[in-house]
């Protein structure tokens, strides 16, 4: 917040898309693409896009949108934008559940889309107002398990959870969680951070131990917890929002974090983002319209607007998170360096190792307890 990099401080704190990776990895299934054509009925389509006006109240992760996009959208459509920010999916849920109304658009992570939809806290999308999405959305990102009928959400972007290290300050070239942990307890003690996220930390340790990211086995979670507790004296901080700047400043040399932040660090300083060999998390963040939205037309307008490949490229170049727009449409318009960056668009064989967050209330309860013990240690 105080550092010079504040304007680029992508403080996204996601947990994940229930089952998304499976669907995602069944890549290029063409059938779902064609079926989406019959979604908007022709009568609606004839009306064309709704006339946009008023204000769009956008509730989002902080600095998760290219400021250029805000400006261009307002210039092009006349819709003003009011911004509010949350730091976790759970905070978004807590606000909506507590009765907060009037948000037109939000961008939670997949698993939270499902929770919000089940709780009746979302408005259904009107696909006749999303012709550009219809045209440009990559088939792999349709009908994801957290929203099997594409009823509530449109993917915003996607990413992974792994670790980042400053390649000029860490010479060991770690590629596994075990190495990450050993280096933290060893030469880089006091210079490593982890996310302030329960599923990310516990899940990553579970992967390291050879278990599933979504394990619900009490014994397995217990072992993951012990790994975290042993790691704690060697951590600089537990943070989801500050680690990027700490890495850039060199106060931290390694961090358990998200790929977009890793790529953003690498854009400024020599750094590597690693998807650990033992596995990790894959997630999708998605646009939703919260219940009680005052200007759903503007929300649809925004989603459709950013699905222009040109606009979407701007987003990716800013957040360094993967774009759900068809790859061939992005190629001509996106910065070559970002387009070919494997931290932003990891190759298929890397993604195969990853799992989306799909824990149940029971699994969450075990993780919460483990987290409290970790924090209280």
């Amino acid at each position: 917040m105080i550092d010079p990099g504040w304007e680029r401080n992508v403080t996204r704190r996601g947990f994940v898309a229930a089952g998304a990776a499976t669907a995602f990895l069944a890549a290029c299934g063409g059938s779902s693409d064609s079926s989406s054509d019959d979604k908007g009925d022709s009568a609606d389509k004839a009306k064309g896009p709704a006339k946009l006006a008023g204000t769009l109240h956008y509730y989002n992760w902080a600095d998760y949108v290219n400021p250029e996009t805000y400006k261009a959208f307002t210039t092009d459509t006349g819709v003003k934008i009011k911004k509010d920010f949350f730091v976790s999916n759970e905070e978004l849920q807590a606000k909506l559940q507590g009765g907060a109304r009037g948000f037109d658009l939000a961008a939670p992570t997949g698993y939270m889309v499902q929770i919000l939809a089940d709780a009746g806290l979302l408005e259904e999308l009107n696909w006749s107002q999303l012709p550009t999405v219809e045209k440009n959305l990559d088939a792999r990102f349709r009908k994801l398990p957290y929203d099997p009928d594409d009823k509530w959400s449109v993917p915003k972007d996607w990413g992974t959870t792994g670790f980042v290290y400053r390649s000029d300050l860490v010479k060991e070239k770690p590629t596994t969680w075990r190495e990450f942990v050993d280096l933290t307890k060893g030469p880089y003690s006091g210079k490593v951070t982890v996310l302030d996220g329960i599923p990310e930390c516990v899940g990553s340790m579970l992967c390291m131990l050879g278990y599933s990211y979504n394990s619900e086995d009490e014994g397995e979670i217990d072992k993951a917890k012990q790994e975290l507790i042993d790691l704690k004296p060697h951590l600089l901080a537990i943070t989801s929002t500050e680690y990027k700047q700490m890495l850039i400043d060199g106060k931290a040399v390694m961090a358990l974090g998200w790929n977009g932040d890793g790529a953003a660090v690498a854009a400024k300083k020599p750094a590597e983002y690693v998807i650990a060999e033992e596995g990790g998390e894959f997630w999708v963040d998605a646009y939703v319209i919260p219940a009680g939205a005052k200007n759903p037309d503007a929300a649809h307008g925004w989603i459709d607007y950013v699905y222009e490949p040109k606009h979407n490229s701007l987003e990716t170049e800013f957040t360094y998170y993967g774009s759900p727009v068809k790859r061939d449409l992005l190629e001509p318009v996106m910065d070559k360096k970002v387009f070919g960056n494997e931290d932003v668009f990891p190759p298929e064989n890397t993604l195969e190792k990853l799992e989306p967050n799909a824990v149940t209330p029971e699994g969450t309860k075990l993780r919460d307890r483990a987290w409290t013990e970790f924090k209280a240690a």
């Binding site: 917040m1 105080i2 976790s88 759970e90 905070e91 849920q93 807590a94 559940q97 929770i115 089940d118 709780a119 951070t193 302030d196 329960i198 704690k232 951590l235 600089l236 901080a237 537990i238 943070t239 106060k251 209330p361 969450t364 309860k365 919460d368 987290w371 409290t372 013990e373 924090k375 209280a376």
Partner: protein, 290 residues
């Protein structure tokens, strides 16, 4: 947690005064404040009490079947540990602000020439958001910062304690000053004239007369400290949790509102007991002092 509790001793004192034959004010003057407290303190407290006996189901649903599970879950060395740590922070914070604040308040009340200006300086920090002031400490603790940076305090428990003393110091100084300001210094001089050394005069005259200020200041610091949230997160790097962080975690991360409510209720109840006992003890002292 902290909002209403400090008013407890004040309200009691006001009653005493009215009872002592002071002027009687029309009671309806308190209606706006009363309405405010009922709507925004008593009601939420009631809701929380109900929550604390309910149970979370799935990710979002709260089932209202009166049960004591949340309280039973709290009987656990893990939470005892967090409470003890919080108690330590609150106690050390209160004592440290008292030790640092008392000489300042004493100087301000007895000798300072530019009282208004100095008092203003004590209050000035309140003009800036607590969040920004706490972030400013991050710069001071930064390893690159001259002198202090070399102490490597950033994201340590020591940093949390320093931040806490800084944050709460004015809350201690102001009531201390108010008490010492009213003190009749000729009493101290009389004691000294009659053979008391300065220390003895301080113990027998100044300290008892300053007691109401010490009580008020201690409560103003101790109670919010039991719910302290910000300093551990920002200056401690969120590595160590205190009761406030534990409650925040239940509400925002775990989304277990019933369990979070139970922790909050236990905290509120124990604070009420502390305030009650403390103000009883203090009022006895006050009686001596008066």
């Amino acid at each position: 947690v902290a909002v209403a509790a400090p008013s407890e001793p004040k309200r009691r004192r006001a009653e005493t005064r009215a009872g002592a034959g002071g002027p009687r004010y029309p009671a309806w003057l308190s209606l706006p404040a009363l309405a405010w407290y009922v709507a925004f303190f008593v009601c939420p407290l009631g809701i929380m009490a109900v929550f604390s006996f309910s149970r979370r189901e799935g990710f979002t649903d709260i089932v209202y079947d009166f049960n004591l599970e949340n309280y039973k879950d709290l009987v656990d060395p893990l939470y005892g540990h967090v409470f003890t740590r919080t108690l330590g922070l609150a106690a050390v914070g209160t004592i440290a602000t008292l030790v640092i604040g008392f000489p300042l308040a004493y100087y301000l009340a007895r000798w300072a020439k530019h009282k208004t200006l100095l008092l203003l300086l004590v209050v000035v920090p309140f003009w800036t958001s607590i969040l920004i002031r706490t972030y400013a400490w991050l710069i001071i603790f930064d390893p690159d910062f001259p002198v202090i940076g070399g102490l490597n305090l950033l994201y340590t428990t020591k940093a949390v304690y320093i931040g806490v003393v800084y944050t709460y110091l004015p809350l201690m100084v102001l009531p201390l000053y108010a008490a010492l300001e009213r003190l009749d210094w000729s009493l101290v001089e009389a004691a000294e004239d009659l053979g008391d050394g300065p220390l003895r005069a301080f113990r027998r005259i100044t300290l008892p007369l300053a007691a109401p200020g010490i009580v008020a200041g201690s409560l103003l610091v101790f109670i919010p400290l039991m719910g302290e949230y910000l300093n551990p997160v920002l200056l401690g790097g969120d590595k160590t949790i205190y009761a406030g962080n534990l409650i925040g975690q239940q509400f925002l991360l775990s989304r277990d509102w019933p369990f979070g409510s139970a922790i909050a209720m236990v905290l509120i109840l124990s604070m009420t007991v502390v305030v009650f006992v403390y103000s009883r003890m203090a009022s006895r002292e006050e009686a001596y002092g008066g």
